[in-house]
């Protein structure tokens, strides 16, 4: 059994176990156990990966396994990881683990909830381990679809509308993506008889430039929809606002990363020429995302909306950095994905916990909560500080890397746009502090909130796991950065070899 497939097998086994259970109280224990195991596995994988690299294994992908799946189209189930995917897997298992604890008190259809949640996680894990485009797409869809149920059934507010909107927009993105992937597939071999979906093999051929010009935008936008690329981001506020806590966590924390990761691993890696040629368009769009998302967040009243817009801004930064196409910026993009994943999951977990206590998400209806629920309050402040890029927490590492990297771009235009994007850090500070001030500080405004209970043990597990990771990355970024950096080398080398710009 190869270790990577275990990442798909364990969730599937967990789901099976849940389905066999009669007592719904055990469901969450089993889920926590399964996802805890997954977290351990992720730890093991990081360890194995680093030791393999340390031992001098310089393959582009490690632990590669390949099974022929569908012969006539040459579709394989092939898996493999490099430092980037390992990091993403670690992120995913952390967020899922925290998510399980954050949804500890789901009462309604508990079994089905956990099944859908873990199914979603399965899709995400599968996506990150796949190196076959088709399998990757398959897992991608697997991750997107349970979202509809999770929001539509367990959501709040206009949940059907939001679920429908989110699913339709993501499916629209998938449609573009599928066309893009097929386009890559049919150009994956110069003599058209050895077509392949395997990323590593495709990366060895040069897809003809006219084809790239068509399929790069399709693929990029396809993934970009999931990565909240302006103007395809509007599913995000509604979707997040309606989704239950754990789903928001997983969605913003992990699922949106699928977009960034895919844009990087498929769109840019396989079609660097078109990426270079067309990057200015998308650079403009993404920098709009960055600034616009931040401004959008200032004026919101609903906590989840604020966070959703901030996600738009932060995820925009991921795509922005990826498009800069140099080592440092891309490194920053990956760190930003991880960092944003953790801290936005943290945010949504905390928002969920606040909502569970106060039954409102409108910031003006709350106030002075710090005194009443200090643990959650402090955690919220930490999350906020991470979000505005305080050194010592992960957000800073990511943003610094992105900005320094982006500013090394040789063309003046890109550097000016970078300065625009940099200005988002102030706007971020504004909305983060605004929320903290209104929500937590000041006198208590509502006497009904005087006796709210502080965090319970499972909430603490969830939150502490995430804060610990955020702080760990923020305090000691070098190992993560170098792990990603070494994996980026072959990719950057390819880009540079193809584009002597």
């Amino acid at each position: 059994m190869d270790i990577l497939s275990l990442f798909v097998v364990i969730p599937v086994l967990t789901i099976t176990a849940i389905l066999l259970l009669k007592d719904t109280r055990q469901v969450r224990v089993v889920s926590a156990f399964g996802m805890g195991l997954q977290l351990l596995m992720a730890g093991t994988l990081v360890f194995l990966y680093l030791s393999a690299r340390h031992a001098g294994n310089s393959d582009e992908m490690l632990f590669v396994k390949d099974y022929l799946w569908f012969k006539s189209l040459n579709i394989h189930y092939s898996v493999g990881v490099d430092g980037i995917s390992v990091a993403m897997i670690a992120l995913t298992s952390l967020v899922v683990f925290a998510g399980i604890f954050a949804s500890w008190e789901v009462e309604f259809l508990r079994k089905e909830f956990f099944v859908s949640l873990i199914l979603l996680a399965t899709g995400v894990f599968g996506f990150f381990i796949s190196i076959d485009l088709f399998t990757m797409f398959l897992f991608y869809e697997l991750a997107v679809i349970p979202m509809y149920l999770l929001i539509g059934i367990w959501g709040t507010g206009p949940k059907e509308y939001s679920a429908m909107k989110l699913t339709l927009m993501l499916m629209g993105g998938s449609a573009l993506l599928l066309v893009g992937l097929l386009g890559i597939y049919f150009n994956s071999s110069p003599d058209a008889n050895r077509l392949t979906f395997n990323i590593l093999e495709i990366s060895k051929v040069v897809i003809p430039l006219p084809a790239q010009r068509i399929f790069f935008p399709l693929t990029f936008v396809g993934f970009g929809v999931l990565g909240a690329l302006f103007p395809f981001h509007t599913w995000s506020p509604d979707g997040h606002a309606s989704a239950p806590t754990a789903v928001s966590m997983l969605h913003a924390g992990v699922l949106m990363k699928l977009g960034g990761y895919g844009a990087f691993r498929v769109a840019i890696f396989l079609m660097p020429e078109a990426a270079h040629e067309l990057s200015w368009i998308f650079i403009i769009l993404t920098s709009i995302s960055v600034v616009y998302g931040a401004f959008g967040a200032i004026a919101q009243k609903d906590l989840k909306y604020i966070n959703a817009y901030s996600s738009v801004s932060h995820c925009g930064l991921v795509l922005f950095a990826v498009l800069m196409m140099n080592q440092t910026a891309m490194n920053g993009a990956i760190i930003q994905m991880i960092s944003h994943g953790l801290m936005t999951a943290l945010f949504f977990a905390l928002i969920g916990m606040l909502y569970g206590r106060t039954h409102t998400r409108i910031i003006y209806e709350m106030g002075g909560l710090m005194k009443i629920i200090p643990f959650l309050g402090v955690c919220y402040v930490i999350a906020g500080l991470a979000s505005l890029g305080l050194p010592g927490l992960s957000g800073f590492v990511a943003e610094a890397t992105i900005f320094v990297g982006a500013f090394q771009h040789p063309e003046l235009f890109y550097r000016i746009v970078t300065i625009l994007a940099v200005s988002s850090i102030v706007i971020t500070a504004v909305y983060v502090l605004r929320v903290i001030a209104i929500l937590l500080l000041g006198p208590t405004t509502n006497e009904h909130f005087e006796h709210l209970p502080d965090a319970r043990w499972f909430e603490k597990i969830s939150v502490v796991t995430l804060i610990g990771s955020v702080a760990a990355i923020g305090l000691a970024p070098f190992w993560l950065s170098s792990m990603i950096g070494t994996s980026l080398h072959p990719i950057i080398d390819k880009i540079i070899a193809l584009n002597p710009f």
Binding site: F295, I298, L390, F396, A400, V404, Q408, R415, V430, A437
Partner: protein, 639 residues
């Protein structure tokens, strides 16, 4: 080579203390955590003095100049081969001097707070924040590269935010902390952009290679132009923006007076002695670049400094909240330091301003911390910030009275107190290079003496206010720091700064220039005299004067309406005309487009569904017609 590797503990100890107090503080007894924090800082202070001693008196000099020593350095985050953020300790005259300043003041404040904050809720939180601040400030001071400095710069900002907002249930404190953070954050944006430009052109973050006056970095950037100025100038102007933000230079000064909402020890430590001079320190740190390849930027520094010092001094004359007066006085004094840096050149005699600035930074830290702590002692006993509520306090608070008087004399530049020496150097430096700026500063010196003695007389003399509770002298934990700092303020003028801290590390020969010294003492005395007349006893002169210059008084009293301008820009322009429209645009244009696509699809499908009428015969009719048409098509038309 002396081994300085123990200096890592100067950074690590406060950080560990922060973690300990922050995570476990609520489990400890409040007093214990306070003592722990103070004890930790005591060790750090000791280490700092040890370092200073070793650096200044035992380390080797080359060419008679102090060398920059990288005590330790490790790569924290690698960007490219050349660009990487390191974490380390850099020792050179200014960083060692700052080490002394920061640890001394911080230690005093730690002790003082044991008394001042006694019984406050969140005592251990206060100490953990203080530790965080000490950690960040020391990291900033000891940074080996500009990005490390930026990192700690941000951390200093956040500790300031946390400490200003210490009374988080007080709306004004919350507002002030938010304002402080956002304003400095905005300035930091400039700093970051400056760093980016700098790093793009020089490909290094490292201070030693950046500031090497004959190094490649300095010559590289100055040759590339952009919009009429060299790239180096641009980046230095941007970097100075960051410094201006932290140091509350005009127009980023608005956060500092509000920051006085924090506990008074915090004001003494952060907003008077250490953090606010970080901007000065930054410019001093980058000084070779400013002086050699970005003289235009240096002029900006000088003029901004001069303007701020005048501007703040004028406002200080009208305020009635003593902490605010002190805050404006701080701005004014920092303006002095900036000006001194701005008029200096690199190396030799022309570097006088640099040395003067550092000297003033040092003495200012002592006397301003003293003033704030004294003010704290007063507030502690009177329970009010307003000098209208005070008067005749000399009888009740003798120790505070004496130390406060010393501080006032120091800031007014009366010999033999330290302020005289440092201010004199600054005026001399200004006189050397720019007579106009000298004139401004000369006037400011008089105004300073006036407003300081205004509050002095109002508090300790003036009318005999009836107090509900008889004011009593502060406990020993508070008075001892006062006494120590008073001694520091009184005698630190005799420290031979010209031998220790100079722009190129070499000894600078200076002396008291009587041509400048005597007039400056005189104008100080004049200021004191006017204050004496106006405030020694209860008198109507101030009100009459205020009525006479009604409008200018009103403008000054309202801080020239800069706050209102900011409020207008942020609330009206940014919030109402950018953020709200963006949010609206997002909902009603972008999202609406998506929704329109959806609803058009739905509408079309509603139309189409009419075909699915459930009328069997309609289906059959359509089917047959279609079949016939297809048959016709295939048989006759296709061919």
């Amino acid at each position: 080579m002396i081994n300085f590797s123990y200096t890592i503990w100067i950074l690590l100890l406060p950080f560990l203390m922060f973690l300990l107090l922050g995570l476990a503080g609520h489990k400890l007894k409040a007093k214990l955590s306070g003592l722990l924090g103070t004890f930790g800082l005591g060790i750090i202070t000791f280490l700092s003095y040890l370092t200073a001693y070793k650096y200044f008196f035992t380390s080797e000099k080359i060419d008679g100049a102090f060398q920059k020593i990288t005590a330790l350095n490790f790569t924290w985050l690698q960007f490219t081969d050349k660009l990487h953020i390191d974490m380390g300790v850099l020792l050179d005259p200014i960083s060692v001097m700052m080490l002394i300043v920061v640890t001394t003041v911080s230690f005093m404040v730690h002790i003082y707070s044991l008394g001042y904050m006694k019984g406050e809720k969140g005592f251990e939180r206060f100490y953990s924040f203080l530790s965080l601040f000490s950690f960040s400030m020391l990291g900033l001071v000891l940074a080996t590269n500009i990005f490390q400095m930026y990192i700690f710069w941000e951390l200093v900002g956040v500790s300031s935010f946390l400490l200003i907002g210490f009374y988080y249930q007080k709306p004004s404190a919350v507002r002030a902390s938010k304002k402080a953070f956002i304003v400095t954050r905005f300035a930091d944006l400039g700093f970051l952009i400056g760093i980016l430009i700098l790093s793009f052109n020089t490909k290094t973050f490292d201070f030693i290679s950046l500031t090497n006056p004959s190094g490649a970095a300095i010559s590289q950037g100055s040759s590339i132009g952009f919009l009429g100025l060299s790239v180096m100038t641009w980046s230095m102007i941007f970097v100075f923006l960051g410094g201006a933000g932290k140091s509350a230079m005009f127009p980023f000064h608005i956060w500092l007076p509000d920051a006085m909402e924090g506990p008074t020890p915090v004001s003494a430590l952060i907003h008077a002695a250490t953090m606010v001079v970080a901007g000065v320190y930054l410019v001093a740190r980058m000084f070779p670049i400013y002086a050699i390849s970005a003289p235009v930027a240096l002029d900006v520094v000088a003029y901004v400094g001069a303007f701020t010092s005048l501007f703040a001094a004028v406002i200080a004359c009208t305020q009635t909240d003593i902490k605010r007066v002190l805050a404006y006085s701080t701005m004014s004094q920092i303006g002095y330091m900036m000006l001194a840096l701005g008029v200096a050149k690199y190396g030799g005699e022309t570097g006088l301003g640099y040395m003067a600035s550092m000297f003033h930074l040092f003495t200012h830290a002592m006397f301003k911390a003293l003033l704030f702590l004294g003010a704290g002692a007063i507030i502690h006993s009177v329970h009010s910030n307003y000098m209208t509520d005070m008067g005749g306090l000399r009888k009740y608070l003798p120790i505070t009275h004496i130390t406060f008087l010393i501080a006032c004399l120091t800031i007014s530049g009366i010999p033999p107190f330290s302020g005289f020496f440092s201010k004199d150097e600054i005026l001399a430096a200004a006189f050397q290079s720019n007579k106009f700026l000298f004139a401004v500063e000369y006037a400011v010196a008089g105004i300073t003496a006036f407003y300081m003695f205004r509050i002095y007389f109002s508090i300790f003399w003036g009318k005999d206010t009836q107090y509900q509770h008889t004011p009593h002298e502060a406990p020993a934990t508070m008075t001892i720091p006062l006494i120590i700092l008073a001694i520091g303020a009184a005698v630190s003028g005799f420290i031979p700064f010209n031998k220790l801290v100079t722009s190129d590390g070499k000894i600078l020969e200076t002396g008291i220039n009587l041509v400048i010294a005597i007039p400056s003492v005189l104008i100080g005395l004049l200021g004191i005299g006017i204050a004496y007349i106006m405030y020694r006893r209860e008198s109507t002169i101030p009100d009459k004067l205020a009525a006479m210059f009604k409008y200018s008084y009103k403008w000054a009293y309202n801080k020239f309406y800069i706050d209102e301008l900011y409020l207008f820009v942020t609330k009206k322009i940014i919030f109402r005309y950018i953020a709200v429209p963006v949010a609206w645009f997002d909902r009603h244009v972008v999202d609406a487009t998506m929704n329109t696509i959806a609803s058009v699809t739905q509408g079309v499908s509603f139309r189409i569904r009419g075909f699915q009428s459930g009328q069997l015969q309609k289906y059959a009719f359509v089917f047959i017609t279609g079949a016939i048409m297809l048959a016709v098509l295939f048989i006759y038309l296709w061919k």
